[in-house]
């Protein structure tokens, strides 16, 4: 009775696999004719720039949604109609969603966003990362707008008691204790130059003897560190868990971590429907005010104090004088 159903499941997975491998090509060709030059200016009124409704997406975690909401409110304030499509999943799910045109815009980290396509091209310079990312995204019909000065980068973090007993404050001090510590590293660390490469730069023999594979910047990683299942965790520098549990972020004294500034990614077929310069100027003004301190502060408000993301975004925009 059940066996055929399971076979059908297997078959549908295969079909899915086939569909996905062809999906990329289809969306690229669909995006091609809508490149900026192809919009017909004759259909637009010369005086007033049209404000086409925009669909804004986000990844499935608070910071991405917060940035999306900030951009959404800036646009709404200027008279755009915004359709919110938050929590689309991880980069792995969100990218196909945007490629297929389900969303027009999303806030992206320029380092990891570039890393999705070309890990070896990531650098410690945010602007360079944004330019490289633009090169990858141009064939897909996506434009990278201005980056924030603030960034949320990966950080290696220890408990306060570990830091006190071993006198750990910097990454370069980890080398002498590497075999005694239990490491919480993301599953892709082996293939990630920013993880394996960075650790090796600090003189750590990879892989460490005691290692657990957990999602970087994820709640279980923080819980495991707090519960002493691991001693060193890879978290995100603006992650509220760090202040919540009183963890100590180790200083990246060799500057191994990439620049993870945030930038809005917008589909070109959407930009063709609006006044591109004015649109970019609006978002760039908001991005310019988002420093690492602001990002961390807002993160605590959302993730620790459980404030509503829309309220936090509105308050911040008002404080920064970005709403008319």
């Amino acid at each position: 009775m059940r066996t055929p159903r399971v076979l059908a499941l297997g078959a549908s997975i295969l079909v899915l696999a086939g569909a996905c491998s062809t999906g990329g090509g289809a969306s690229q060709s669909a995006a091609a004719p809508s490149a900026p030059g192809s919009s017909a200016p004759s259909t637009e009124p010369a005086s007033v720039a049209p404000k086409a409704p925009i669909k804004i997406g986000s990844d499935n975690f608070y910071e991405s949604e917060l940035m999306g909401e900030i951009y959404a409110q800036v646009l709404e304030n200027d008279g755009y109609t915004v359709e919110r499509k938050y929590k689309l999943g991880s980069r792995q799910e969100r990218i196909p969603t945007m490629d297929a045109g389900q969303v027009d815009m999303v806030a992206e980290y320029v380092g990891s966003g570039l890393g999705f396509y070309a890990k070896d091209k990531i650098t410690g310079d945010g602007q360079a990362n944004a330019e490289e990312l633009q090169k990858v995204l141009t064939p897909k019909g996506i434009t990278v707008l201005g980056i924030t000065p603030g960034e949320d980068t990966n950080a290696f973090v220890v408990r306060k008691d570990t830091s006190d007993t071993l006198g750990l404050t910097k990454m370069s001090q980890l080398k002498d204790h590497q075999d005694d510590l239990k490491w919480g590293l993301p599953a892709d660390c082996d293939t990630n130059p920013l993880c394996k490469g960075a650790l090796e730069e600090y003189g750590i023999t990879y892989p460490p003897k005691q290692r657990s594979a957990l999602g970087a910047c994820d709640v279980p990683m923080a819980q495991a560190l707090d519960g002493k299942a691991i001693d060193v965790a890879e978290l995100c520098s603006t992650q509220p868990a760090i202040s919540q549990f009183g963890f100590v972020s180790l200083e990246d004294d060799l500057d191994t971590q990439p620049a993870e500034n945030i930038a809005p990614l917008v589909r070109d077929d959407y930009l063709a429907k609006v006044d591109k310069t004015a649109f970019a100027a609006l978002l760039d003004a908001a991005s310019a005010k988002m420093t690492t301190e602001e990002l961390t502060k807002l993160g605590v408000l959302v993730a620790v104090d459980q404030k509503d993301i829309a309220d936090v975004a509105k308050q911040w925009l008002t404080d920064q004088g970005l709403l008319k």
């Binding site: 295969l14 599953a187 657990s212 279980p220 495991a224 519960g227 691991i230």
Partner: protein
Amino acid sequence: MEDIIKFFLDPANWAGQAGIPNRLLEHLEISGVAIFVATVVGLPLGLYTGHTGRGANLAINIANIGRAVPSLAILVMVLPVTLALAPVLGYPPPLGLNPLPILISMTLLAIPPILVNAYAGLRSVDRELIEAARGMGMRERQILRSTELPLASPVIIGGFRTATLSVIATATIGAILSGGGLGRFIFDGLNQGLVGRPSIYAGAILVTVLAVAVDLGLALVQRRLTPVSLRKPIGTPSRGWTQTAEVPQSGGMPGPI
């Protein structure tokens, strides 16, 4: 598709801790232990409630909570508990991260089908038969062993099939909490961007193949354990009293529960 075939042909994916054989073994270990513990807990309860008819509603409803709460939620919910209990119960904290949470959530997932099918299997045995056995002077334990169990065995094994299938498919989520098993291919692939895609599909295929293979194996066991008089060769009507003691042959749970 081509990349998935390449993934399977790459010798690097067949060797060492991260190789397919070791991950397969880890997967079977997690699933096996979970099914074993679920059997130790669920089967006696199911047999007791099925034989006596007492406490059935309570036991089945409590057990079904294990099925109603998503395994992923259980996995993440028990993590702080297993970590906090480590110093109290004296096991090393890494055990509280992996494999305890995945074993707990998989055991809770496996108990309901085992318990419910054991109960339903015994209940489906013709009451007149049991009365006859009793009339012949058999003791309760004898009735259970030599009358009820053989007749109910196809349904009981059906419960194991359901439990095993769900556990093998769901145990993949253990990889979220650093667990081993075939889920590693899926989650490690998810973490690797575009290059990780073949690993995701390979993991899904491996889990599906394993689940189907184990299920087919159990289907054979199920058929072997079915008393000859209850077997239904295709096209021939079953004989005599077996028509009244209609027992579902499939692994699914019978309707009235």
